[in-house]
């Protein structure tokens, strides 16, 4: 079903996926299935490119992928100088509102739209979720060990994380935490645990509370999952930055942030026990592994819930897709053509940019599905990029 636009692109794509180290195209030596030059096949569909006139696209939404989109937009504008794309990082909920009210050309969200949100769309319209990258939520901590040095190498299983955020585990030297950390058990101090959580609604909170909701029946019964929940304990702080700052300033603090923020802020993050019983640090590879593990169950409408406790030894247990949202039928043909071209570029060349700046690229199977999804875009009923 997956129809790749041209042999050149297909090979470049394969090379990118196999050798994520570099973004080079050099596909000429790869064995080709069918003989032929590396020119655009005369009968097959072509690579979507933006129209030649000046075009401006506006988008708004999630803050998590803002850095990635900024890099993409710059690189895309270098290739097509007539295209200008503005992306405003106003938050996932804001992105969904903006696309619902049709004030932007595309929205972006860390969480797939809910049924109720889809029902709120203008009558007769349909929206597509285009996955662009994956993120992970890591548990960060700032604890001065019993020996006076900063505690490092903390490991936590799901029950411990849930009990910390439920307020049942109150000190760092709790026997349950020590049971996860045989190596550093002697260093665990009697410092009280201070939970720092997001005070604003957030896709990060959605992924993290979905994790807690999945692993803890008590959390499921008393709190639940969502972008904003009623936290049993702890202080709130706005944004990933706010949580990082809050954790950094208090000895004994624990919080949760997006993977990229943990490395930016220099905070330590705990290894989390995955479904295979291994303690895994949050990493780009661990996230892609998580996504790979559930490729078969990926929903047809692309609205994948956060990936919790995926199978596999190297899988990190708290991961989620981030999406670009756009209407299937683009009222403005020029903008529609530009959007499809941009998304095509993002799903192919753009994927190679992700790892270097802390984002997990899509698994190959999902990438292929997303590329095929682009064929659905129409303008005035006519396919923009016939497949």
């Amino acid at each position: 079903m997956t129809i790749l636009p041209s042999r050149t692109k297909a090979l470049a794509l394969a090379a990118t996926l196999l050798l994520t180290a570099c973004g080079g195209g050099g596909a000429s030596t790869t064995p080709t299935v069918a003989p032929g030059p590396t020119s655009v096949a005369s009968t097959g569909p072509t690579t979507p490119v933006p129209p030649s006139g000046n075009v401006t696209l506006t988008g708004a939404g999630a803050t998590f992928p803002a850095l990635l989109y900024q890099v993409w937009i710059e690189k895309f504008a270098t290739a097509y100088s007539n295209v200008q794309i503005d992306y405003q990082a106003i938050g996932s909920g804001g992105g969904i509102k903006a696309i619902t009210q049709q004030t932007v050309d595309f929205g972006a969200s860390d969480a797939a739209m809910k049924d109720s949100e889809i029902a709120a769309l203008p009558a007769g319209t349909k929206i597509l979720h285009v996955p662009t990258a994956l993120g992970a939520v890591v548990v960060t901590y700032n604890v001065k060990g019993a020996d006076g040095a900063a505690l490092d190498g903390l490991q936590l299983d799901g029950d411990n994380i849930a009990n910390i955020f439920l307020g049942h585990i109150k000190t760092w030297n709790d026997p349950a935490i020590a049971a996860n950390n045989a190596d550093i058990a002697a260093k665990l101090p009697a410092t009280p645990i201070l939970v720092v959580h997001r005070s604003d609604g957030s896709g990060t909170t959605n992924a993290f509370t979905t994790y807690l909701d999945t692993i803890s029946t008590e959390w499921h019964a008393s709190v639940g999952a969502g972008k904003e929940v009623k936290w049993p304990v702890g202080n709130g702080a706005p944004g990933n930055d706010g949580v990082s700052a809050g954790v950094k300033q208090t000895d004994g603090a624990v919080g949760y942030v997006e993977l990229e923020y943990a490395s930016i802020s220099g905070l330590k993050s705990a290894k989390v026990k995955n479904a295979a019983g291994k303690f895994v640090a949050g990493s780009v590879d661990g996230v892609t592994a998580a996504a790979d593990a559930i490729v078969d169950k990926f929903p047809a409408d692309f609205r994948q819930a956060p990936i919790i406790n995926g199978a596999g030894d190297t899988t990190y247990p708290i991961a989620a897709y981030t999406y670009i949202l756009a209407y299937v039928d683009q009222t403005d043909a020029t903008k529609g053509q530009t959007l499809v071209a941009f998304l095509y570029w993002a799903l192919t060349d753009g994927q190679a940019e992700e790892k270097a700046i802390g984002y997990a690229p899509l698994p190959a199977a999902i990438q292929a599905k997303a590329l095929a999804e682009l064929h659905q875009f129409t303008t005035g009923g006519t396919p923009i990029w016939p497949g």
Binding site: S92, G201, K227, N235
Partner: protein
Amino acid sequence: MTARSRPPRAGGRTSRLPDRVFRSGSGLFGASVVVILVVLGVQLAVNGDQALSTFGTGFLTGSTWDPVAGIYGALPYIVGTIAAALIAVTLAAPIGILTAIFLAELAPRRLALPLTFAVELLAAIPSVVYGLWGVFVLGPVLHSTVEAWIVDTLGWIPLFAGPTFGIGLFAAGIILAIMILPTIVSISRDVISAVPDSHREAMLALGATRWETVSRAVLPVARSGIAGAVILGLGRALGETMAVTMVIGNGEHIPTSIFSTAQTIASKIATTFNEAQVGLQTSALIALGLVLLVITLTLNVVARFLVWRAAGVSGGGRT
């Protein structure tokens, strides 16, 4: 506020066209202010109606805000808003009033001018700067000094009990106090200056000291105007968002101590509105805005009334 008499219309002479245009034009713009306020209130009420009609008075008295379960009670935020504002006023009122007395009555002219300028400059600092300063400088300092000391000495009173985090109601109150100081100082100073010199001269002629003159002749006359200045400051403290959001700790509970983390109405709206789900949650946040509007509007009306009365008593100019 004496109504100014209209320009007399001589019999037979109709007012000229520019006059008419001027009068209707400025009348229109004047009316637009009222219209904007009314539309604002109505919009808030209409959009917040879903939450208000779902929960009734429970919206004001409920202490649970749970978007997952769809239960919204505003009490923690109402208490947080009022508590932070009260702490601010408790700190800022005495400092502000004494500064105003100094500037209006005691300071030599060449000292009064730069000081007045400096106080008014405080009002020009963006609130996000106050917030940053609060988080990175004030919070840690408070945590290790003032808060630790208060908890050690007065901690047996629940209102002053720990634990302390540096950020929280107390830090927010201090930041707000600094922010409302210019309002209190400049209005109080104007009100004090509006007291006619004859009052002072009479007291001084009787052989009264400076202190007696100020405390017996000036302050009683200016009293309600100063009260108005304080209430205007309180109004500003209630609505301040950015700085408070950054230092109050965003605790989703009714604060039990002045060191508790808390959440104000304004910061709750600012932090969660963007990601709020369409429907009940959005409606509840808009209803929160309506509650805040009612609180600040009431206070401002009271303040205006007091300032107006003070100006009336002193016989000074219109305010």
